[in-house]
């Protein structure tokens, strides 16, 4: 049995109105992958922030190699060999990939930053995680998945003894997850202790050794990673959860959303599809396939060069979010922090963002009405919060995502575009969201769901559109299709274009 390298005892942390950690114990051995499991808001991220020095516990202690340590800053933890990937991105968008990878510790020569060496190192790291970007590219333009890979590479750069990863796979597609797992296994075999947080239960058996389950800020169980899914869920939620992808009667009404020949040069070309009333249409593809760009263009968030978008028979003017909304379109963006939320505003304020216009009479907003609608939505989604006025930036990641979805629920959109809707959402809540999608479609609304989670796409959609390199490369009926079918389409086209 290998020794415990990092140990936490009785950690407590309270925020105004919330006890985030309420006496958590954790023991981490060298050469193991230790999975942290828990519902949204259970305290996982808070725990790792305490372990990485980003946050100070109110009580309890942390031991490293059996000696108590005092982590005052993130730098302290790094010096002790603890490297962390946080749930929220910690990249500097204006700086290049190479600089982000060396953030805080660039190679120096005669006191000056050695740019050449820095890029050299960056190239090595990028190759290791398999990301094909130039080290001199600014991070700002990269898609969210590649940003996550950069975060991973950055954490690897430290050569740490303890590697903590907060939901690294939430935004990755199968290929990248596989690559990440290969890296993690290699590190584990080299004796690195890994803390791994995920809401994808199937990943636990694949990569984990032991699991610590957190519930309401307490560590309630420690079990081996091969514990059955149902048992894990029961430990985590405290009650059984229904079918993961609830069954639904397929219905096809008239087309609500029609997209034809949508093109933006340099991004995507000739994208045509329709989504009918009562349908869930999935959109799959590799990272960077252009799915996000297409749906943003459809919603009017970005301009496009050619093509048209029609909602319920009316053609939308390009680049006009407001018109899209009026026509009944809604978009849950993939980047919740950057595009979905007003971080320092309260939960109620955020939930009412879209409906504010409708709750306005003679210029005055009926805030009471918005508030009661928000309260209802929060209840329906089970948002864990101290109150409707809690700033959303202090909600747990999963609960933030619920707020973003909630604002469109309140708005009663007819065609809802969900871009990675269940990213970072726990199993229980996922089912709730799926049920919600089903409710919407049962009422005759339509849903277009972009997701990198293939089981989810397969389990929830009626039809699946597959994108590669900015083009729609195929369409599958979900019934009977397998993950391999989808991947074959997505990958084939990429290889084809490389051959050009």
């Amino acid at each position: 049995m290998s020794e415990e390298i990092l140990k936490a005892e009785g950690l407590r942390k309270t925020f105004p109105g919330v006890v985030a950690l309420d006496g958590v114990d954790l023991g981490l051995r060298t050469g193991e992958v230790h999975v942290l499991l828990g519902e949204n808001g259970a305290g996982k991220s808070t725990l790792i922030k305490v372990l990485s020095g980003a946050c100070h516990p109110d009580a309890g202690r942390i031991l490293m190699d059996g000696r108590p340590v005092h982590l005052r800053t993130a730098g302290d933890a790094q010096r002790l060999g603890i490297s962390t990937i946080y749930q929220e991105f910690n990249l500097v968008p204006q700086l290049t990939v190479a600089e982000n990878l060396a953030l805080g510790r660039p190679p120096r020569r005669f006191g000056f930053v050695a740019t050449g060496r820095m890029e050299q190192q960056a190239r090595g790291l990028l190759e290791r995680v398999g990301v094909d970007v130039h080290p001199r590219t600014p991070v700002a333009g990269l898609g969210i998945a590649r940003m996550q890979m950069i975060e991973i590479a950055k954490a690897l750069a430290l050569d740490a003894r303890v590697l903590i990863m907060d939901e690294p796979t939430a935004v990755l597609t199968t290929g990248e997850v596989a690559r990440l797992f290969a890296i993690v296994r290699q590190l584990r075999d080299e004796g690195v202790a890994v803390v791994f947080i995920t809401h994808h239960l199937e990943e636990i058996a694949e990569i984990g050794d032991r699991v610590t389950v957190l519930r309401d800020g307490r560590s309630v169980a420690r079990v081996p990673a091969d514990t059955s899914r149902d048992e894990l869920v029961a430990l985590m939620v405290g009650r059984p959860v229904g079918r993961q992808y609830p069954r639904r009667l397929p219905r096809r009404g008239k087309p609500l959303l029609e997209v034809s020949g949508l093109t933006r040069r340099g991004a995507f070309g000739d994208v045509s599809f329709e989504v009918r009333a009562g349908e869930v249409v999935g959109m799959a593809g590799l990272v960077g396939a252009g799915r996000t760009e297409v749906v943003r263009a459809v919603f009017g968030a970005d301009r496009y060069d050619e093509g048209e978008v029609t909602v319920r028979g009316t053609r939308l003017p390009p680049g006009d979010v407001h018109a899209a909304m009026e026509a009944g379109l809604g978009l849950v963006p993939e980047d919740r922090k950057g595009q979905g939320l007003v971080p320092q505003a309260g939960v109620a304020e955020n939930l009412g963002l879209v409906t504010m216009r409708d709750a306005t009479r003679a210029g005055f907003v009926d805030r009471a009405r918005l508030r009661s609608a928000a309260a209802k939505a929060a209840e329906r989604l089970g948002i864990r919060m101290a109150g409707l006025d809690q700033e959303v930036r202090t909600l747990s990641g999963g609960n933030q995502q619920k707020v973003v979805i909630g604002k469109w629920l309140v708005a009663d959109a007819r065609v809802l575009i969900l871009d990675e809707p269940t990213r970072g959402i726990d199993v229980g809540a996922k089912v709730e969201i799926y049920e919600l999608v089903n409710e919407l479609t049962a009422e005759g609304d339509a849903v277009l769901m972009v997701s990198s989670d293939l089981p989810e796409v397969l389990g929830m959609s009626d039809r699946i559109l597959v994108m590669a390199r900015g083009r729609l490369v195929g369409e599958l009926r979900a019934a009977g299709a397998t993950q391999d079918d989808v991947m074959a389409l997505a990958v084939a086209e990429v290889e084809g274009s490389h051959a050009e």
Binding site: T14, P16, G17, V18, V19, F299, A301, V321, H322, M325, L331, P333, G338, Q339, G340, L341, V342, P343, Q344, A345, E349, L353, V354, M356, R357, T360, G363, F364, V365, R367, A386, G387, D389, Q390, K407
Partner: protein
């Protein structure tokens, strides 16, 4: 139980006080000055402070809208001067009756704001640059129209500088009215709520269907309109419109907003805080006069007190969390 510590569960008075940290600083300042100067705590003097705060406060109310959206308006002082000059010129020189002249003057203020907003929202200029340009343009136009000399204000409008009923100075009334308008706009109207959303996260606001460009037009137009009112009040107090009036007031107005708890990165700010901020500045200047602090030292003392006032606030806030 954790819920005891919830923000909304504290006593309303305590919560209100905690959210208006500048108020604590104002109270300390007032107490200190009443101890140091026997003349400070008289009704007359406090009304004087009110009058002296009025112009800055009105400018700052307008500025609050802009700062809440994450912008900045450096042109308010110049726009105030231009609006007053336009009023005085059209009424006194061109001979227009005062009501249309006043209307025109307000429109000029609003127009300046709209130009700022167009440059910012559609020309993508940083607000600092757009309004810095307007600072020069409006001041220049004020000088051009007036040929550099003061112009008498029409009698009727000048009453805005008087005292109503022999006790309550009209500038104070105007200040309070504008403050209430600003507070109601910010808290209750669509435009106001949209300002917070835009300042908090412009992209999220846009993707939630808020017409960011149009809301910015409203925001800067309001700032321009408030500046025009401030300019008219200022000119009324002097019974003449000065082309160089309110020069440099933009820094005072912004300082009042920030002292009042707003953040220059947007999404935060309240009319009441701004009011307190403007009062702090006015009380400070008034107190220094009463205490006969030497001219050279006054700037030092003002600087130190401003820093302390905000420091008290931030340190207290840190203590709570």
């Amino acid at each position: 139980m954790p819920s005891d510590a919830l923000p909304g569960r504290r006593s309303p008075a305590a919560a209100w006080f905690a959210e208006n940290g500048a108020l604590a600083a104002l109270v300390v300042l007032v107490v200190a000055l009443s101890l140091l100067s026997p003349d400070f705590l008289s009704v007359t003097n406090l009304l004087n402070v009110g009058v002296q705060a009025a112009v800055t406060a009105i400018l700052a109310f307008g500025q609050t809208f802009v700062i809440v959206t994450g912008g900045i308006d450096l042109s308010v002082g110049s726009v105030a001067a231009l609006s007053a000059i336009v009023l005085a010129w059209t009424a006194t020189v061109a001979g227009l009756p005062w009501p249309p002249a006043t209307l025109l003057s307000l429109l000029v203020g609003v127009a300046c704001g709209l130009v700022n907003a167009v440059l910012i929202a559609y020309g993508r200029l940083p607000p600092f640059i757009a309004t810095l340009a307007m600072l020069g343009i409006a001041r220049g136009l004020a000088l051009v129209i007036s040929q550099g000399s003061p112009i008498p204000m029409p009698e009727a409008v000048s009453h805005l500088g008087d005292t109503a009923g022999g006790v309550l100075p009209v500038p104070v009334i105007v200040m309070v009215v504008m403050g209430v308008i600003a507070a109601v706009m910010l808290n209750r109207t669509y435009a106001g709520r949209a300002m917070y959303a835009i300042g908090g996260n412009e992209e999220a606001a846009r993707l939630s269907g808020i017409k960011v460009g149009r809301q910015k037009l409203i925001t800067y137009a309001l700032s321009g309109g408030f500046a025009a009112v401030a300019g008219i009040v200022l000119a009324s107090r002097l019974a003449s419109a000065q082309p160089q009036a309110a020069a440099g007031y933009e820094l005072d107005a912004i300082a009042a907003v920030v002292i009042g708890g707003a953040s220059l990165s947007g999404g935060k700010g309240r009319a009441l805080g701004t009011f307190v901020g403007a009062l702090i500045l006015a009380v400070l200047r008034n107190g220094l006069n009463l205490l006969s602090v030497s001219a050279f030292w006054q700037q030092v003392v003002i600087g130190v007190v401003i820093a302390l006032a905000v420091l008290v606030d931030t340190l207290r806030r840190r203590g709570t969390t």
